[in-house]
Subunit: 160 residues, 2 copies
Amino acid sequence: MARKRFDDSNCSVARALNEVGDWWSLLIVLQAMYGVRRFVDFQQELGIARNILCDRLARLVDNEVLQKVEVGEHGSRQEYRLTDKGRDLFPVVIALRQWGDKWNPSPDGAPLNLRDRENGQPIRAMAVQSMDGRELTVRDVYVPEEDVPETGSQNAGSVG
Amino acid sequence: MARKRFDDSNCSVARALNEVGDWWSLLIVLQAMYGVRRFVDFQQELGIARNILCDRLARLVDNEVLQKVEVGEHGSRQEYRLTDKGRDLFPVVIALRQWGDKWNPSPDGAPLNLRDRENGQPIRAMAVQSMDGRELTVRDVYVPEEDVPETGSQNAGSVG
DNA sequence: CAATAGGGTTGCATTACGAAACCAAATTAA
DNA sequence: TTAATTTGGTTTCGTAATGCAACCCTATTG
């Protein structure tokens, strides 16, 4: 049967995964953050099959993560650029990258080091924070009683 | 042909997606963060096919994101619990959730609100930060020249 | 002792993915 | 000016992954 979709799930993680939760989409967004904009370049950087790339780009455009821009005089040259929505995936990508670097260190050498353009310092480790800046773990948070989603659909009861 | 895998990619995002980048794995981890530990509960909460759930749980255990624990006297009752590695996905999940809440608001009602156990306040929006706490966008970071990965394999040149 | 719950496995139909070939418009090279 | 190349796709086809349902075995409950 068809792959299950979660467009109308009342879990926003599920809805998010619906848009960028497949093998390629996030990598495409990552490349876009690296500055890649052209079909051929995505294809070469990722080694993705062209038909799949077409499909993913179209879906990302549909979901307004990317925007397709005609460049060149008579059309026939396109660019795929990140929208604000797409750029907003930056924390997701960085969180994932840091997790990967920490728990699956690169087989050959140092992790990609990202630096603050302003002073050349490395960036901070991503963390869930309280309003006053404390770092929160899974156990430090909860869902208020009145907001606990009913079980059996997509969300379980308590966090922690 | 086989779905492309990225075990040995020198991009840590790709390696991370290799472990939790499919449709179900992150949702399973999310449920685990909600406190779900039993096979049947995962199955009911997610509505996932049982064989797929088996496969994903086994893979997550292999990758040390979950740990399988025998409970009950004579075996035959298992629990799947998050490891430190799994719990460390918290920032990833929260970043994804906040992105989903912002750009694909729940069709029926308010987003799941997570609160700080210590004072009942909501948590902060995830952000990539500089060492001194400034919020950084994609354009505020760069990769130092000597660390720029060669093009054509898995990473493009510059960030921004 | 029968019924049920927990945790899987097996078979089968449907769908998605990957590789390579093919295509057409627009550039560039000769 | 014609031929080759680049860009952005689509088509075809074989393989892999998914979902559903049915089945299995071991504990526990009634």
